[in-house]
Amino acid sequence: MALRTGAFVNVIQSAIPAVSEAIALLYSNHPLVESGGFADFHVSVRAATGVRRWLRRQVLFEFDGARPFKPLPFPQAFPMLEWGLNWCVSNHCNNLLVFHAAVIAHENRALILAAPPGYGKSTLCAALVNCGWRLLSDELTLIDPASGNVLPLARPVSLKNASIGVIRSFAPDAPLSRIVTDTVKGSVAHMRPPVGSVQRANEPAKPHWIVFPRFQSGAPTTLSPYAKARAFMQLADNAFNYNVHGKRGFETVADLVSSSGCYEFSYGNLNEAVSVFDTLAKSAP
């Protein structure tokens, strides 16, 4: 099947029932594309053959016949597809600047959330897109150097460990995939992106805020300005292909930082966090 995710067409082949089920649930709002056109990524997720077939079954991710990853345990088939699709973008889209960061938007002003794993960026992202913010991506922020705009993907939001329970209570109506345990990231589940985000996945957004969040249990909710030069370095550090773009990469990140409000954000309570972002959204440009 061929699915459109923002600017990209993905041809996905898989005979594994768990994968088809997850796709049916999480990509139900995504446009299907007629086959026989141009596709950006041809991928497949299939069971590994061989002796292990009968012992501990494994699953393989293939990108156009090549296997960028080692096999994973069979129950991880769907997460592997999602990780694989992320890899496709971060490895091949050298015409764009690709950052490891979440990005959401309010009225086409984009807010980039950049943080190391475990800092609560995905939880925050998942909560905010259930409160009126548009999802562009939970993992990969794509900037077009020519326009400086963010290009959406609007793919399922990945949640880990404690986040899963938190989002279940925060947004009980948001469809969640089955939880897959024992992955290298712990327990993993994916949340379906809001239909509005998917419908607008072909609309770029202009960067307006850059936030470095950090979740700490019991911490007060504080949003404070962050030095732009440091924000620059953090972002460049979090980019997959900053070096590839050379001088143009430097200029693009500098423009990004110049035109955005840069903040550090610390929070211990999700509801309070969401209302801080609400205020931010309503603030004058």
Binding site: G37, F38, D40, D64, A66, H92, N94, L96
Partner: protein, 359 residues
């Protein structure tokens, strides 16, 4: 599934792409990526003004490959500058080989290229001094398996690859273009004498044009890695077309092949570039190169094997026999490098040690 080699068509008849469907462009990008030719293709199509007809998705991927290639060119330039600085005190003349040579000499073959290691050639007697200087400047040897170290130093024409500890870049230091155990014996001293200095870079050289071509031909038709056969053939074609503009090049090429005992690789190089890529080799040169032709039976077998193996390594082009073709050619490459007893020893040891590291 189409069996057409769209990369070949796009390279040899770019105007044909004007009537292509989105699906054709889809196949082209995939085949090109697998053959490591996406960057090269981007530059060729741009030069032929044939990008206007491409679907936006294809343009994005071609653009991405072009940007990556540009970055890589700069990265190679920086790396060569570092190497030059690190070896300056030794006073040894350094000859750049393969991709790094194309990049620094500004040859067309460098455009759109993905580079991996930097290869250099130095006199055999300077090997240890060069290795030592590199180590002082932060390179360490890879291949710590004692068998591999012994294999490299005793049988091969190069040191085990060295990796820079901070930059993580790799350098291959050669003293010859083929191992001493190979059947063909191109004289390194002759190669070094004919080397051409690079302007503004004292101590840095590349091979003469004829020798660059012969080295590339030897690399393609002798080496173990044939997965990128088409890319290497395209290299040869690009080099030949550029050097063909120099007066006396073709005659020099034939003479030099004889001088360096490389008639056989030249024969294959000219035969297959002309046949598959339409390289404009003058008929009398093709004739002269026949001096390197093997007996007819082998000639026909090689034809069958090479033509298959030189296709993009992609499911849209392969047929049932292609994996076998590649395996036979891989074994042949080793056969050409090493006497049979050693071949068995080497392949067995390698097969064994790679299996044990898997589980």
């Amino acid at each position: 599934m189409a069996r057409r080699n769209l990369v070949l068509i796009a390279l040899t008849q770019p105007r044909a792409t004007a009537s292509w469907s989105a699906s054709d462009w889809d196949t082209l990008v995939r085949q090109a990526r697998r053959s490591n030719l996406l960057g090269h293709l981007a530059f060729r199509l741009e030069a032929a003004n044939m990008l206007a007809g491409a679907p936006p998705g294809a343009l994005a991927h071609l653009d991405a490959a072009r940007i990556l290639a540009q970055h890589q060119q700069q990265a190679v330039e920086r790396e060569v500058a570092e190497i030059r600085q690190s070896l300056a005190a030794t006073g040894v003349d350094i000859i750049l080989l393969k991709g790094a040579a194309y990049a620094i000499a500004g040859l067309r073959a460098a455009k759109g290229r993905i580079f991996s290691d930097v290869d250099i050639l130095v006199p055999k007697q300077a090997l240890l001094e060069v290795e030592s200087a590199l180590m002082q400047h932060g390179w360490i040897s890879t291949h710590h398996d004692p068998y591999d170290q012994r294999y490299y130093r005793r049988w091969m024409h190069e040191l085990p690859p060295m990796r820079h500890i901070i930059r993580q870049t790799v350098i291959d230091v050669h003293h010859a273009i083929l191992p001493e155990t190979a059947r063909l014996k191109p004289d390194s001293a002759k190669l070094r004498t004919a080397a051409v200095p690079l302007e503004g870079k004292k101590g840095l050289f590349v091979f003469s044009p004829a020798d660059i071509v012969l080295h590339s031909a030897t690399h393609l038709f002798h080496d173990g890695e044939l997965e990128h056969g088409l890319r290497d053939l395209v290299d040869l074609d690009t080099l030949l077309r550029e050097f063909a503009q120099q007066a006396g090049f073709w005659d020099m090429l034939v003479e030099r092949a004889a001088e360096l005992d490389l008639r056989r690789p030249l024969y294959y190089a000219l035969r297959y570039t002309a046949h598959i890529l339409g390289t404009p080799v003058p008929p009398q040169i093709l004739q002269a190169a026949e001096a390197g032709k093997p007996v007819p039976v082998i000639d026909r077998l090689m034809d069958a094997l090479f033509v298959r193996a030189l296709c993009p390594d992609h499911s849209s082009v392969a047929d049932r026999f292609t994996p076998i073709a590649r395996r036979i050619l891989y074994v042949r490459s080793h056969w050409l490098r090493m006497p049979p007893l050693l071949l068995v020893y080497h392949l067995t040891i390698k097969a064994f040690s790679s299996r044990s590291s898997e589980d």
